[in-house]
Amino acid sequence: MRAEDLISTHPTAEAVAEALRRLPRPEPEKVDALRSRFTATLAPASSAAWPHFLEGARRKRDSRYADAPTSHRPVVGPALVMAKRAFRLAFQPFINEALRRQVEFNESILDALALIYEHQRTQARTQALWRQEVDKQLEQLAAERKKP
């Protein structure tokens, strides 16, 4: 470590850097192996985006507002649509209150699903790293057995 990479007034950064230089140097192979291990275990960059499979559910989580009213009936249809709109307009505050808990529940369950998904990704990654490590060790053992 360079003195410029340290903040220390007493002892000075230069004195600490000098003490570091006096340390017995670790074997370069050990250091390299350790650095490769650190690189292999670096977590992938996290993303703020929601998991793709939850996007559909996310769009529907707010159940207080229905789709725009329609009707397939040719004659009474427009009247029905108007009646539906009027009903929504008049009762929307009550609908909001009645469905408030449902919306909160929907959001909570989505969060829980996202959490489980992240958890599962972490576990899968750990297992993959384990598998790679075991495969590497088995290859080493096999190579050693082949040696005369």
């Binding site: 291990r37 703020a48 790293l129």
Partner: protein, 545 residues
């Protein structure tokens, strides 16, 4: 002494003198830094003869007798009340603050940047973003503002709090004088070198880096070593699970997650520790660092956020996060007795100005103008000047993007260039105008030291807060990350310039649309700067009022 009346002011209706000084906090916890500070201030205020209560939205069961519900405050407050608002996370208390009578002041502990929780914990990430919005909203309701470090005070200044200053952080040293738990001490004092870390397991504390440093230390320098981690850790969150998984992947021996510990167990941890290690990327003020100093444990800490300021030149603050290099520092402290003694002595000296009487006197001096109703002189806000945000300017002033940023500023009277300071300073200073060959440049403190190998400028919470609060036209000059986090707040008066190698994300493209330009290798920088200056000037007149 100016007799400033705050009657009918948006910042609070208040009489000249106050009889009651209360505190408002979102969550009153038992044993955390904010909770301890709130209790300390309450005792101090009562000692000065004021009625003082703590109001909170939520509280730990152990604090039930110390707290009143926040919703009662507007009813309890009168014109001779004063309120100290502690802000460290989303509180949803701004409407209550606005409604309450009396004068009000802000005590800012800092908010962890959202980026640490993105993709890890959405709720907390949203809370951090909302907390910074609340910081901006509170500005209109308080007459005074303090932070607990210069690092945090810089963010207050960037958010538009005029005369924001630093309040000394009071640490109750007596609380550390607890006899160590004999059972735990006997367990861990077995000849191993014990490396200690104390703190919550949240992504900003970078427990994974602590594990990496310890693994390097154990493999390269001291096989007979142990890592003690005192702080809640469960398998129920992805971050905690990833830390536990990393321990399995790295395979160091004797890593002990102690979970939540009581005072005597914590005492035993410090009593048996060879060194204290912190790789935290964000601290508004690091109490465990001072606790380690108080208990005579040498500290090795990564110099991010307010850590260099907390360390005050004592201990070993490293600007490198390379685990092998940091492990070397732990080895030096263990093997070089003379150097270790120097470090411990310097740490003791660091604590000298933080004794309780001195801190109480300084807190009293700082709070007196507020308690006496002396309002700081409110300078008239200046014109909505254009701001060119170029984080990489300080790192590479001759790069094409930096030259473009400077050319735009030089063409616009009153415009300023905002950049992130490349170097970490032991004491951060509020951004102020500096002239670089005639161009007004404001340097903001980075949240983390810059890696020598990286050409990217590090993130700066202060700069991002400043951008969110900017009212004039804003030009993002190669500031992809800053734009991603702030473009939604300033989109009506924001422009952007990008280089092909660092394309902005889809959200920024959508928000800025045609106001997004590309800086190609063959672009005429002067011509583009002239066009941008013209657009910013016209857009600023249209949108920014």
């Amino acid at each position: 002494m100016a007799n400033v009346s705050l009657w009918n002011s948006k910042r609070g209706t208040a009489s000249r003198s106050v009889g009651r000084v209360h505190q408002l906090v979102s969550h009153l916890a038992w044993g955390d830094a904010v909770g301890n500070q709130v209790r300390y201030l309450r005792d101090l205020l009562r000692g000065w003869g004021f009625d003082s209560e703590i109001y909170a939205n939520e509280w730990d069961e152990a604090c039930r007798d110390q707290v009143r519900p926040a919703r009662d405050y507007p009813r309890d407050a009168s014109s001779d009340s004063a309120l100290l608002i502690h802000h460290s996370f989303e509180s949803r208390l701004v409407p209550l603050v606005a409604k309450a009578r009396g004068r009000k002041a802000l005590l800012y502990h800092n908010v962890t940047p959202t980026r640490f929780f993105e993709g890890v914990d959405r709720h907390v990430a949203q809370g951090c973003t909302a907390a910074r919005e609340e910081l901006r909203a509170l500005r209109d309701h308080v007459s005074h503002a303090w932070a607990y470090s210069h690092f945090s005070a810089e963010e207050l200044a960037a958010a538009g709090y005029r005369d924001a200053s630093v309040l000394p952080f009071a640490v109750d040293w007596n609380a550390f004088d607890v006899p160590p738990d004999p059972a735990l001490r006997a367990q861990v004092e077995d000849g191993c070198a014990n490396i200690l870390f104390v703190g919550r397991t949240v992504p900003s504390k970078r427990l994974e880096d602590v594990l990496r440093v310890f693994t390097a230390y154990q493999r390269l320098y001291q096989p007979r070593s142990r890592l003690l981690v005192a702080g809640t850790l469960s398998n129920s969150t992805p971050y905690d699970a990833s830390v536990i998984a990393l321990r399995e992947q790295l395979g160091p021996e004797r890593v002990v997650f102690l979970g939540r510990v009581d005072a005597s167990q914590l005492s035993a941890c410090f009593a048996s520790a060879t060194a204290y290690l912190s790789m935290s990327r964000h601290e508004g003020f690091g109490v465990p660092l001072l606790e380690a100093m108080y208990r005579g444990v040498p500290v090795v800490a990564y110099g991010a956020a307010a850590v260099p300021e907390t360390m005050g030149g004592a201990g070993l603050t490293t600007l490198s996060d390379d685990p092998v290099e940091v492990a070397g520092l732990l080895a030096v402290l263990e093997r070089d007795a003379a150097l270790r003694a120097q470090v411990v002595a310097a740490q003791r000296d660091r604590l000298a100005p933080l004794d309780q009487q001195t801190v109480a006197r300084r807190v009293h001096e700082a709070l007196t103008p507020f308690l006496e109703g002396r309002s700081p002189v409110q300078a008239k806000p200046g014109p909505d000047a254009a701001t060119v945000v170029c984080p990489g300017f300080d790192t590479a002033p001759d790069a094409p993007m930096s030259r473009l940023a400077r050319a735009v500023v030089d063409r616009m009277p009153g415009a300023r260039l905002w950049t992130v300071r490349r170097g970490v300073m032991p004491l951060q200073l509020a951004p102020r105008e500096e002239r670089r060959e005639g161009t007004p440049v404001w340097h903001f403190t980075p949240d983390e030291p810059t890696s020598p190998a990286s050409s990217d400028a590090p993130a700066s919470s202060s700069l991002e807060t400043g951008v969110r609060c900017a009212t004039g036209p804003v030009l993002f000059a190669g500031a992809e990350e800053v734009a991603r986090r702030t473009a939604a707040q300033v989109q009506a008066h924001a422009w952007g310039v990008w280089e092909a190698r660092r394309a902005p994300d889809a959200g920024v493209r959508r928000l800025l649309g045609p106001r997004l330009k590309e800086l190609k290798p063959d672009t005429d920088v002067d011509a583009l700067a002239r066009d941008l200056a013209r657009e910013l000037d016209a857009g600023g007149r249209t949108h920014a009022r």
